[in-house]
Structure formats: structure tokens, C-alpha cells
């Protein structure tokens, strides 16, 4: 494992989504890359992400969704973060975040408009996300 980089992440699977394996893999990959990870597991509500980010003083929230309803579940997340005093906190989302097969450029645009800093399509390897995190958080 690399030396810790001091950056704290809160991760989890949002909504009524019980896909438990992928988030464990992400947790492992982020840890290996030196991040301090709080994994909230599956069926995480927006409020839980926010509460955990406040208590742990997180540097980023990373939302995963695999069951197609991510767009509904993520709506209003940025507004709620602003209300909770987490203005400007880095916010990512990734996975099968919309219903059916849609043009990803369009999907990305919709999530950007919802306040997400980065949006990752299905099949993104953890390394890609880690690279973006390091860049956005100024690690190395």
C-alpha cells in the first residue's frame, strides 16, 4: 500500500440499490491508492453521505449507482450539500447511473447540471477515478 495522502473520501451506493461487491472493490482500490476511505455500503441516502462527510471532514463524496435509478436518487444532492455547509466539496458519480442505454455525452451533461464535478460511464476502471481524484485534490 502506498503512503496515505491525507485525503478523505466518503463513498457508497445511493438509493434502493443493493449492489454490494463493486463498492468494496472501489474501497479497496482507493485505500491502496493512499486515500482515507469511509465506505457507507449499500442503500445510502443523500443525508447519510452528507452526515458522514461533515463528521469525517471529507475531501470528496463519491456516489455509485448500478441499478439505473441514479438520476432520480442524485437529484438535489448538490443543493442539500450547499444547505449543509459543504459548498464546493468535490462530488463524483459513476456506474449505470441512468435507465437503459443512453448517449453518455448527454448523461454527463445532465449530471454536470445537477452539480456533479465528474461523471463516470459504466465500466470505468478504478484507476481512472483515482487519477481524476489526485488531479482534482492536488495530490502529488
Amino acid at each position: 500500500m502506498e503512503q496515505g495522502n491525507g485525503k478523505k473520501l466518503v463513498i457508497g451506493v445511493i438509493g434502493a440499490d443493493v449492489h454490494a461487491v463493486g463498492i468494496r472493490i472501489l474501497e479497496f482500490a482507493f485505500r491502496e491508492a493512499g486515500f482515507d476511505v469511509t465506505n457507507l455500503g449499500v442503500m445510502v441516502s443523500q443525508e447519510e453521505f452528507i452526515g458522514a462527510a461533515i463528521e469525517t471532514d471529507a475531501d470528496a463524496i463519491i456516489i455509485s449507482s448500478l441499478y439505473g435509478h441514479g438520476e432520480l436518487d442524485c437529484r438535489g444532492m448538490r443543493d442539500k450539500m450547499n444547505e449543509a455547509g459543504l459548498e464546493g466539496l468535490l462530488l463524483y458519480v459513476g456506474g449505470n447511473i441512468v435507465v437503459g442505454k443512453q448517449d453518455f455525452v448527454d448523461v454527463e451533461k445532465r449530471f454536470h447540471n445537477m452539480g456533479f464535478d465528474r461523471v463516470f460511464p459504466p465500466g470505468t476502471p478504478p484507476e481512472t477515478t483515482i487519477e481524476c481524484l489526485k488531479k482534482d485534490l492536488g495530490v502529488e
Binding site: 478523505k8 434502493a16 440499490d17 443493493v18 482515507d36 469511509t38 457507507l40 455500503g41 449499500v42 442503500m43 447519510e48 452526515g51 458522514a52 461533515i54 463528521e55 469525517t56 471532514d57 471529507a58 441499478y67 439505473g68
Partner: protein
């Protein structure tokens, strides 16, 4: 014979229990009325006089006590997020036997500081942030608290990185630095804080609470009464290395002003299709309902459960119940006369309501959720459905004609199918009110205390959940 004396200083009664350590028997018990303004020693003398008349003069090897006199151990707690560190701090203080007068979340405001000064606590428990997490909350609050007077002991049990600067801010206070109540997100670590609370209570609070005279009469141990009861419940459940306990249990104590519920149980889900959310609550958990009680808080019971429910349960008309509520409000010392009078019917309903509300607030809950892989349940709090023993203590339950009828309301009910209360349970009644005394005795003699509890609790038999109400 090796007699020892155990004392329970209450706000209205001082109760004494004499135990013979060699025969492991209770020699006698007695209680005397105490008023808030009289010295605590007066009530003790009166109770001892009574005991002497009943069992003769005894040369006690030692005297130990617990106390909820003079308002009990009054604490304020602060945390960051309400459901997280503030809740962890609340659970820690309750489990240590405290009466929580205020819970503060996020940053303290000027109004909060004025409220603290207007009604200062015995101990202030300050938390916030996981280890390595948020530190501005604790640091800011400590800085604000520094100007408050009078000074009271402050326990710092939040983000460990914040402790140094908080300690600097609070130089004029007695500060105790403790491990974080929530070191890692969602994980509780409340025992170290509870040990400190008890040590402070023993060494500092009793002087401030006018108990110093009594403390001269004692041989060392003095703990908050609820802490003694929780300790007795835990001993009864877990046993010791040589003396087995009776397994996981719940306890209910309905008092005049408040209702306490205890659970000594892991509370893990009973089904694999359950996902747990929220804090993982403590194995030995205590909750207190300040608005639920037989006299001072009778209106809280009715407000929560409804007049109709109370009337139906009492078998009286709603207007009759209203009149009885007025009578109780005017005279809080009113107790039912022997036999079946109207007040005893009404008290049955109040006690049933109190048990129902308080156990529902204590037990965990399930929520149904539909996912792409089918139906799952989300559990918050502890699953107590498989608990098979419930201990009832407190005057209103011990002296009730139909304890089983009241106890039934602690069980699972079809009215609240998502409340994870026991499906069926044996009801154990603390007829001689010895639990707090045994909790104190356990500090010195664990096995003797356990054997006495096991023998003294009266098993009223097993009842199953009943959905008729």
C-alpha cells in the same frame, strides 16, 4: 453473619437494603420519604430506624450507595451531526446514568451559552468529528464555552486532533480528555467516557449536590442510580465466569416523571435480507423518556398515544379519563386504594401506554424497501424481537394488580409491525426493588449480587404478543 448496607438515595424516597454476604440473603429492606430541601442524611436515618425496628441492630461491614437525589446527574452534551456524534454522546451519557438536560448540535450559539449559564450542568460532554475528521466544531465550541460561568467539568470525547486546542481554550475548567465516542464513522466507543462520568460523579458531583454528608457515611462507591440498574441488568444477562447469567434481556422502569428502558442485547438482524443503517447501538443500552411517567408526565402518555387508546385500555369513558387526568394533575401523590377502584383501572392504562411508547422508542425499527433484487428491509437500531426475558421494576409496575397485562405492551404488536420488540417473553418482576442495590453490590461482590438477583426476581410466566389492541 456479614451484613452490608446498600442505599438508594432517590428524589422522593431513600431506600435501604441490608444483605448478609455469608448466607447471600436479603436481611431486610425499608424506605423513608425525603424532601428535596432536607439533608440527605435525614432520610437515611429514618430509613435505617425503620430497618432497625424490623430486623434489629446490625454492624455493617461496609455501606455503598447509588443516588438520583437532587435531580440526579445532570448533563449537557454537544456533538456535530444530530444522528451521529451528538447521538453517540447522548447514548454515552444515558448509559452512564445521566439525566440529559440539553443536546447541542453543530456550533454553540449565544443563546445556547445563555441557556447553559441559566441552568448549568454537572458535567458537559463535548464531542464532534471522527478521529482525523472535523475539528472546527469542537474547537469552536470550546472557545465559546470558555467565557461561561459557573465552571463545570468538561469531558472532551470527539476528534482526538481537536483535544489539545480545546484543552487550551478551557484552561479554567476541569477538563478530561477521553477517546472519541465515534472514532470511526458509525462505530461507537462509549465505555471510556462512561468510566470518566462515573469517576467525576464520585469525586466531584456529590459535594456539589449536598451529598457530602452522606458520603462520609459510605465506604467509597457512589454511582448514579440508573447506572446501578443498568449494571445489574448487564450482570443478570451476562453472568460471571463462575455463575451463568440468564441471557439477553430487556428492562422497563416506569416512574412518576420518566420511563427508563434498558436492553442488554446485541440486537443484530434476525434475517439475512436486512441491511443495517445508522449507528451501531451499544450492547447495554439505556433510554429515558422524559415525557412519559405515571404522574408528572401522565399528560405526555396521553399526548403520544391518544385519549381514545387510554380510555379503551382502562375500560372507561373518555370524559371519565379526562376528569381523572385533572385529578392527577392537581394531586400527584394520588395512588389507587386497594382493590378495583377507577383510579387503578386508569393507572393500568397509563402504565400500559407508558410501556408501549417507551419500548417502541427504545427498540429498533424496520423499513421495507423494494430493490431490483427484490424486497429488502432496512434496520435502524437494535432488533430485540428474539429477546425472551423482560425485567419490570419501579413502583407502578411492581404494585400493579395485573403486571402481565401491562407487560404485554412491551411485546411485538400488529399495530406497529415495524417496531422490533420481543415476540414473546418471560416477565420477571423486581418485587422488593433490589436491582439498584444489587448493581451497587456488584461493584464488590459480583457473584453474590447475581445469585440474589436471580433468586429475588419473580417470574410471572411467559406471554406472547397479542394484537387485540
Amino acid at each position: 453473619m456479614r451484613p452490608v448496607l446498600l442505599i438508594d438515595f432517590g428524589s422522593t424516597f431513600t431506600k435501604v437494603t441490608a444483605v448478609d454476604l455469608s448466607s447471600e440473603e436479603i436481611i431486610g429492606t425499608s424506605s423513608a420519604f425525603t424532601t428535596a430541601d432536607s439533608d440527605i442524611g435525614t432520610g437515611l436515618e429514618a430509613a435505617l430506624d425503620q430497618l432497625r425496628r424490623a430486623v434489629g441492630e446490625l454492624a455493617f461491614e461496609y455501606k455503598l450507595a447509588c443516588s438520583s437525589a437532587a435531580g440526579g446527574l445532570r448533563m449537557m452534551v454537544s456533538g456535530l451531526v444530530p444522528e451521529l456524534t451528538a447521538e453517540a454522546a447522548r447514548l454515552a451519557a444515558l448509559g452512564a446514568g445521566a439525566r440529559i438536560t440539553r443536546v447541542f448540535t453543530h456550533e454553540l450559539t449565544r443563546r445556547d451559552l445563555r441557556a447553559i449559564e441559566a441552568d448549568p450542568p454537572d458535567i458537559f460532554l463535548m464531542t464532534g468529528g471522527t478521529d482525523g475528521g472535523n475539528r472546527s466544531c469542537m474547537e469552536g465550541n470550546a472557545e465559546k464555552l470558555r467565557s461561561v460561568s459557573p465552571r463545570f467539568p468538561v469531558i472532551l470525547a470527539g476528534n482526538r486532533q481537536a483535544a489539545d486546542s480545546c484543552e487550551d481554550s478551557l484552561q479554567d475548567f476541569k477538563v478530561i480528555v477521553c477517546p472519541n465516542v465515534m472514532p470511526v464513522f458509525g462505530t461507537l466507543n462509549i465505555e471510556p467516557v462512561q468510566r470518566e462520568i462515573r469517576a467525576l460523579f464520585l469525586n466531584h458531583i456529590i459535594n456539589a449536590r449536598g451529598l457530602s454528608r452522606a458520603s462520609e457515611l459510605l465506604s467509597g462507591i457512589l454511582m448514579p442510580t440508573p447506572s446501578a440498574i443498568l449494571s445489574a441488568m448487564k450482570l443478570l444477562a451476562d453472568g460471571t465466569e463462575r455463575e451463568p447469567g440468564i441471557g439477553e434481556l430487556m428492562g422497563v422502569d416506569v416512574g412518576g416523571a420518566t420511563t427508563d428502558v434498558y436492553s442488554v442485547a446485541a440486537g443484530e438482524p434476525s434475517d439475512i435480507n436486512v441491511i443495517c443503517k445508522g449507528l451501531n447501538e451499544p450492547y447495554a443500552k439505556r433510554t429515558v423518556e422524559g415525557d412519559i411517567g405515571m404522574r408528572y408526565s401522565a399528560s405526555g402518555i396521553v399526548a403520544d398515544i391518544g385519549e381514545k387508546w387510554i380510555a379503551q385500555c382502562a375500560g372507561l369513558s373518555e370524559s371519565r379519563c379526562e376528569a381523572l387526568m385533572d385529578e392527577l394533575a392537581a394531586d400527584k401523590s394520588k395512588v389507587p386504594s386497594c382493590g378495583q377502584d377507577v383510579l387503578s383501572q386508569f393507572d393500568f392504562a397509563l402504565a400500559s401506554g407508558a410501556v408501549d411508547i417507551a419500548t417502541r422508542r427504545h427498540a429498533g425499527t424496520l423499513e421495507e424497501a423494494y430493490t431490483t433484487s427484490g424486497r429488502v428491509y432496512v434496520q435502524m437500531g437494535k432488533d430485540l424481537s428474539r429477546i425472551r426475558r423482560i425485567v419490570f421494576t419501579g413502583g407502578s409496575l411492581i404494585h400493579a394488580a395485573d403486571t402481565l397485562g401491562i407487560a404485554r405492551h412491551a411485546l411485538f404488536s400488529g399495530r406497529y409491525p415495524m417496531s422490533l420488540r420481543p415476540m414473546k417473553a418471560s416477565i420477571l418482576r423486581d418485587d422488593r426493588y433490589i436491582l439498584s442495590a444489587m448493581g451497587v453490590l456488584a461493584e464488590r461482590e459480583k457473584e453474590i449480587a447475581l445469585r440474589i438477583i436471580k433468586r429475588e426476581l419473580v417470574n410471572l410466566g411467559e406471554i406472547g404478543s397479542d394484537d387485540s389492541l
